[in-house]
Symmetry: C2
Subunit: 108 residues, 2 copies
């Protein structure tokens, strides 16, 4: 068993304005999926892209929107997002605080 605080995990700068922490990954013995925490600065967003794997997302704090193939939907604390495989998407921080969310992906 591994118990930590998410801030114990070393952050990596994914791109300007976006920081990622892999709080549980294969190095911990995770066999199937990986839990990451993203911090997106106000005015920043994750890249608009698609891929063959899904996302399961839970918003911890902040304000923003997720842009999918049917348009955008607002996000706030306690929003839940399922992005199915191959759907184009991005997460946008249009608020004034950090947009922080958990994003679980399969280990591939």
């Amino acid at each position: 068993m591994k118990v930590s605080k998410y801030r114990d995990t070393k952050p990596t700068q994914e791109l300007p304005g976006v920081v990622k922490r892999e709080v549980i990954n294969a190095n911990d013995g995770a066999p199937n999926y990986c839990m990451r925490v993203f911090d997106v600065e106000p005015g920043s967003s994750t890249p608009s892209h698609s891929h063959a794997w899904e996302h399961e997302v839970y918003v911890l704090s902040g304000q923003g929107e997720v842009v999918g193939e049917q348009g955008e939907k607002p996000l706030a604390k306690d929003s839940v997002v399922f992005v199915p495989p191959n759907e184009h998407h991005c997460f946008v921080n249009n608020g004034k605080e950090i947009l922080r969310f958990i994003c679980v992906i399969p280990l591939i």
Copy 2:
């Protein structure tokens, strides 16, 4: 894409003092794993058990401890827990507020 608030998901009473919401599951098209949110009342706990699948947990609010095979460790907001397959574990609310956490399991 599915976007919701976790409270939009109908809760189920897992046992006295423990409520579960499956915020993303196979009915949403999730192919590999399921995201649940648990609310554990003060003085209550999840059953002490083990199983062949892992847990990836993120604590949203409250105070408690996770009891594993090497003893107990404290939990609070932003704690992260990886429970490997087959390790005995339970989550205990020893605080005064609801202990709320995300728990991701494989779809089996």
